[in-house]
Amino acid sequence: MMLEDELTVSVRERDGIAIIDLIGDVTTFAEEKINTAYRDVTNRGARFVLLNFRQNDYINSAGIAILIGIVTEVNRNNQKLAVSGLSQHFQKIFRMVGLAQYAEIYQDEEEAVQSFKTQAAAA
């Protein structure tokens, strides 16, 4: 019996920012969904990408490895990456593994969008 993932991934745009909503668990089962969503927004020319986490009770090291893979692609494609919506615990985990060096962490989507808009205006 395989216990399937419980992650819903969707993509939307707000003020020129590509937002990837990740609702649920981020584990090894999430790889295809997350990478597909990232390729989708990149193919549409996204410069600013926000991973917007919601209801994420479980992000494990395999999930973190998927996100490190996204950072690799973001650097290659000269995009900016941020994350929002993480619990205090997972914000700590992201800092622990070093992801916070490569993706700004914001409390919520609104805060992230405002920061991206400021960066876009200054560019």
């Binding site: 216990l3 584990t27 089962f29 090291s61 985990i93 593994v97 070093g98």
Partner: protein, 152 residues
């Protein structure tokens, strides 16, 4: 199974060695830890550390082999909560030195995965490994019930 002696309360779980079942063990052990009075933020740490230990048992100790099982044993006494994760030892544990940093991983110097042991070390008060011989490997995680100088 839960048992209580004069000084120790224990709980034992056994589950199929398949990815995803670690979530069930995690939730059960988290409930046990809350019942034993572990602080909420330490319960969150325990959930992540235990998940990583179970994944190691499933992927490495049991080599993702169908039919194998993982056992989780919790002991709580006045001093600490001890959680042991047992696999069947199809592979023995071999320390690989310090994990690669994220910058090394981004530079392509190694696999993107492999942060589980680092998370376990950082999210526990104490942790370690012992071989149980032919019975398999055991990773253990410990949380002190009272703040101890030198521990988080």
């Amino acid at each position: 199974m839960i048992s209580t002696s004069e000084h120790t309360t224990s709980m034992e779980l056994s589950f199929p060695s398949e990815l995803g079942f670690e979530v069930i063990a995690r939730d059960a052990v988290a409930a046990f830890a809350r019942r034993m009075g572990l602080a909420a933020d330490r319960v969150e740490d325990l959930k992540t550390a235990l998940s990583e230990a179970c994944i190691n048992a499933i992927e490495h100790g049991n080599s993702l082999s169908p039919g194998t099982r993982v056992a989780v044993v919790c002991h709580c006494d006045a001093e600490r909560l001890l959680v042991e994760v047992h696999d069947q030892g199809l592979q023995s544990y071999t320390p690989k030195g310090d994990p690669l940093s994220i910058s090394d991983k981004l530079a392509g110097l190694g696999p993107l995965r492999g942060m589980g042991l680092m998370l376990i070390a950082q999210l526990t008060d104490e942790s370690g490994y012992r071989s149980d011989g032919e019975a398999g490997n055991c990773f253990w995680l410990a949380y002190f019930r009272q703040p101890v100088v030198g521990c988080r």
